[in-house]
């Protein structure tokens, strides 16, 4: 058994983080730093008639005030990586010029000697706005309504139809077709650390260093180089400690470029740390779909076809991946079921709101919500058990790779195994019996099941806008310490630990002798970043591959040092040894005074590789190997979540009674890290199912603009989570790992909704939209309008 891999190794990141010794952007202090504050539009939609910065410019401590007019085309537009046919991409300037399209949009930037002076001066800028009607409702925007951009003539960003199979024929051939409207409400990601940027420009060297709380340092560097017109190799991006991202930092933001530009103007460091108010208004939001499901089935429960017509809320601008999110929904609509015909029709619309983009799950929670709600609708319509209907439509474990009507090949799966394990843990049969008894007593008890599959390890480069590979360099220093440079950019996931586990086992060194370096584009070779549950399956595989290359090289040198052919050397637990038979030959060869060695440690080999006094001809000194890993496919983790709830009939309040989850993410490097990811994902699902919603009023004002109004789940609101796993290796990578970062937010939400709907099903309830607030439930129970 491996010493580290597969073990619950404690996170090596944690001691510094929990003792406050980590360095986030705001912890990095540079002398002479200027501070930036942004004036943001208080209107969701307005013309800017004029901006008067004269008073602000002369305020104490103020160094400069910039408006959109000052920037002009000196800083390029905020990029969107979407490349869909017919996509309209609005010109997204870092500061608004004459038109603001969402409340919170940056209008002016104040640069001052401290952050208080910068903030004070914001109040002295006079903007004359002419308010315009805002369009907030997604369906109204699609129909017409006020236009976000007059020049487009409508609010449609793009339309897209995807899927395979003859959907019309499939629905026609069904015994039943069930229709349901479904709302995936807008969510605010709320990473614990808001965004932050520190930029330092050295005019002499013409080098710009940007510390940013980002998930994608290299992609950010490329984009900032383009936006700022600075050679890419003169830009260094560093992602120091990053306090969570959930996709919200998988982006390129106006503020990142602008703070860099300001540093270049003044030849001094410039810093901006996002406030929570800004974070809620002007960092990307997630979800935001209103869809219409049509699902066809036979009377025996066989699903025949699924159509999903969806209005996707883009917000006012397209951030990096905004238009791509609904396409991910389309890919995963088949869930873990055999469905011959699937069609998704997307109408993506502009609204006067902050952009949506990737938020943990990024399009897949919506797909899973659609198909898992649809399966329950089918079960209800046919009067069948929800488990039976699901099981009926599973592909068998022998049918993988499994082709879906959405155009994917699921790599591996054993859906029944995970389902049965979860049913066993929950004792589903007894649960249902107890539910029946409770119902007889007039209690509202519900059981919800979700069998999900998700797409991760993003992904093959063909399927991504900017490369789907990942890179790693592994080297052994002269002192024998192992350094891993990963192109992934972990920001809480714990890969400093799991990658070190991997290297420690593979190289036979102590865990503490391995250091994982990430997030600095001047130290680490180009990489893609951490998102889409790709860190371990793609980034980890690059590390694994680099280690294998490194071992080959080390074996060559070890063989040379031991005086044998490489084929005669074996490597185990950190030592290269001459095969036993060969060792005897070496020992008997005689002649030499000193006893010939039969083994050598990897640390000795590393030193020899660097000293290079005794290396074979053609051997490159040093001991380092790099791998750029291009995956051949995505991976498809899956699992079953089972939830039991009871509803207070008097008040509509929901109580969790059980939460059981079995997740299969392939091979596991560190079960504790996997549990942590599942915990966090489920908690965010509870947030979406019960509490969270970004509410805008009709004029585009964000009403849930603080954490006093926007309800994140707290520890006391979380039930005990009973977790287990099955382990179906992925054939896509040599370690057989899949990814677990988002599974919780994907599998859990529908299980919770299904449980609450099930609790209310005796009242004729078939569907509820999220968040399932007690008042809404109370109205249903008591038939209050």
């Amino acid at each position: 058994m491996a010493k580290y891999v597969g073990q619950r190794v404690k996170r090596t990141e944690d001691p510094r983080l929990i003792t406050g010794l980590g360095h986030y952007v705001d912890d990095i202090k540079l002398p002479d730093t200027l501070y930036v504050a942004f004036l943001r539009s208080m209107y969701a939609h307005a013309k800017i008639k004029s901006i008067d910065v004269s008073e602000a410019s002369h305020a104490p401590g103020v160094v400069a005030v910039y408006t959109g007019a000052d920037i002009g085309s000196k800083v390029g537009p905020v990029p969107c990586a979407g490349a869909l046919p017919g996509l309209k991409v609005p010109d997204y300037r870092v500061l608004a010029t004459d038109h603001v399209v969402f409340a919170g949009q940056p209008v002016a930037a104040v640069v001052a000697t401290d952050r208080y002076a910068a903030r004070d001066a914001i109040d002295l800028i006079m903007v004359d706005y002419e308010e315009l009607p805002a369009v907030v409702d997604v369906e109204q925007a699609a129909k017409g309504g006020p236009l976000v951009y007059e020049e487009y003539g409508d609010n449609i960003a793009y339309r897209l139809t995807s899927g395979e199979g003859d959907i019309e024929a499939a629905l026609k051939a069904s015994d039943k077709v069930i229709k349901q409207k479904i709302v995936h409400q807008r969510l605010i990601p709320i990473a614990m650390e808001p965004r932050g940027v520190l930029a330092r420009y050295y005019p002499g060297e013409q080098e710009l260093t940007i510390w940013s709380s980002t998930q994608i340092p290299h992609l950010l560097r490329t984009q900032l180089a383009i936006m700022l017109g600075v050679p890419e190799n003169k830009v260094r991006v560093i992602a120091p400690e990053v306090g969570g991202g959930f996709g919200s930092k998988l982006n390129v933001y106006a503020e990142e470029a602008l703070v860099g530009w300001i540093s270049m103007q003044h030849g001094k460091p410039a810093k901006w740390i996002e406030t929570r108010r800004e974070n809620m208004q002007a960092t990307i939001h997630g979800r935001g779909q209103i869809g219409y499901i049509e699902i066809g089935c036979k009377n025996d429960g066989t699903i025949t076809g699924l159509r999903y017509n969806v209005f996707a809320d883009m917000g006012a601008y397209l951030q990096l991946l905004t238009p791509a999110i609904p396409t991910l929904t389309g890919l995963m609509l088949s869930g873990c079921y055999k469905i011959a015909a699937i069609q998704m029709n997307v109408t993506a619309v502009f609204t006067n709101k902050m952009s949506t983009d990737a938020y943990r799950g990024a399009g897949r929670p919506e797909a899973t919500q659609v198909i898992e709600r649809a399966m329950d609708l089918v079960a209800a319509e046919l009067g069948k058990d929800v488990v039976e209907v699901r099981r009926k439509n599973f592909p068998a474990s022998t049918e993988f790779p499994f082709k879906t009507a959405t155009g994917l090949f699921y790599d591996s799966g054993n859906y029944e195994l995970a389902l049965d394990k979860a049913l066993g843990m929950a004792d589903y049969k007894s649960m249902r019996e107890a539910q029946k008894k409770a119902r007889d007593q007039g209690r509202l008890v519900g059981i919800g099941v979700s069998t999900y599959v998700e797409i991760c390890a993003i992904g093959p480069s063909q399927a991504t806008p900017a490369g789907g590979w990942e890179s790693a360099t592994v080297r052994i220093e002269p002192t024998g310490k192992v350094t891993i440079l990963t192109g992934a950019s972990p920001h809480g996931q714990g890969q400093e630990t799991s990658f070190a586990q991997l290297a420690a086992d593979e190289l036979g060194v102590d865990l503490n002798d391995v250091t994982v370096i990430h997030g600095d584009t001047s130290i680490v070779q180009y990489g893609i970043g951490t998102f889409g549950s790709r860190g371990t399956a793609v980034g980890g595989t690059a590390v694994f591959n680099a280690i294998q290359k490194l071992k080959e090289k080390a074996t060559q040198l070890a063989a040379h040092l031991l005086g044998v052919e490489a084929a005669a050397v074996s490597f185990k637990e950190g030592r290269f040894s001459v095969e036993a038979a060969m060792a005897a030959t070496v020992a008997n060869s005689g002649g030499s005074k000193s006893e010939p060695r039969t083994s050598i440690s990897i640390q000795e080999v590393a030193l020899a590789a660097h000293v290079a006094h005794k290396i074979p001809p053609g051997f490159e000194p040093g001991l380092s190997a790099t791998n750029f890993f291009e995956p051949s496919n995505f991976t498809f983790p899956f699992g079953t979540h089972i939830v039991q709830v009871e509803i207070d009939k008097e008040t509509g309040e929901i109580q969790f009674q059980r939460y059981v989850a079995v997740d299969d993410c392939g091979k596991v490097l560190n079960p504790m890290l996997v549990d942590g990811q599942v915990h966090g994902g489920i908690v965010q699902s509870i947030g979406q199912a019960l509490y969270e919603e970004a509410v805008y009023d009709e004029q585009g004002q964000l009403l849930t603009g603080t954490l006093m109004d926007y309800a994140l789940p707290k520890a006391t609101m979380i039930p005990w989570l009973e977790l287990d796993r099955t382990e179906t290796p992925s054939p896509v990578n040599p370690m057989g790992v899949k990814g677990i970062g988002e599974a919780g937010t994907i599998g859990a939400t529908p299980a919770i909704v299904n449980a609450v709907v099930d609790a209310l099903s005796p009242l004729g309830v078939r569907h509820l939209d999220m968040p399932m607030k007690p008042e809404n439930i109370w109205r249903i129970i008591n038939k209050v309008n």
């Binding site: 208080m42 209107y43 409340a103 109040d123 108010r277 809620m280 208004q281 009023d697 004029q699 004002q701 964000l702 009403l703 849930t704 603009g705 603080t706 006093m708 109004d709």
Partner: protein, 175 residues
């Protein structure tokens, strides 16, 4: 946000109406109104100072009276903006004689706020609007009751308005 209500005033309807359209009276009665300068037939520019003690929010904007049908009806439209955000509102006022003397004012309107006050004050809006309406009509009643040759009564409106606004703002943060 919709707001509606009924206020019973002890003063006679014609006097109430007069008070309700008199800019000098409005200046004293609109909560927080610091200045009211005539800009047209029945339109005024205004400065509303919101804040007491710790809170200083100044809104500048306009007040318009529309659809004036003495002594039955008119419509008031208020629009102001300042550092904490903006506030816009319009309300229809219908006056009827009250049985046994006095006036019944029925009002219904719509208030919109934006900026920080919208983002953090949502849960206080209804209470604040209610308090404001009540203060306004209490003041109007006092004005209408006052003899024309008497000096205008003091309402302490800076104080009360600032209080409601401060309450609304601080509402979100418990001690």
């Amino acid at each position: 946000m919709k707001i509606e209500g009924t206020q019973e005033l002890r003063a006679a309807r014609t006097r109430v109406y007069q008070a309700l359209v008199d800019p000098e009276v409005l200046k004293r009665c609109i909560p927080g109104c610091e200045s009211l300068e005539r800009t047209g037939e029945a339109s005024y520019s205004t400065t509303l100072r919101a804040g007491v003690g710790s809170i200083k929010g100044v809104f500048s904007g306009s007040v318009k009276l529309e659809d004036m049908r003495p002594p039955d009806h008119y419509r008031i439209v208020v629009d102001g903006k300042g550092q904490p955000g903006f506030l816009k509102g319009s309300g229809d006022l219908d006056l009827e004689d009250r049985d046994g003397g006095g006036t019944v004012v029925k009002y219904s309107g719509d208030i919109q706020v934006g900026g920080t006050i919208a983002g953090v004050g949502q849960r206080m809006l209804q209470g604040a609007a209610r308090m404001m309406a009540s203060q306004f009509f209490t003041a109007i009643e006092a004005e209408a009751l006052a003899e024309s040759n008497e000096p205008p009564p003091k309402h302490g409106f800076f104080r009360t308005t600032l209080r409601w606004l401060s309450g609304w703002f601080r509402r979100a943060f418990n001690g």
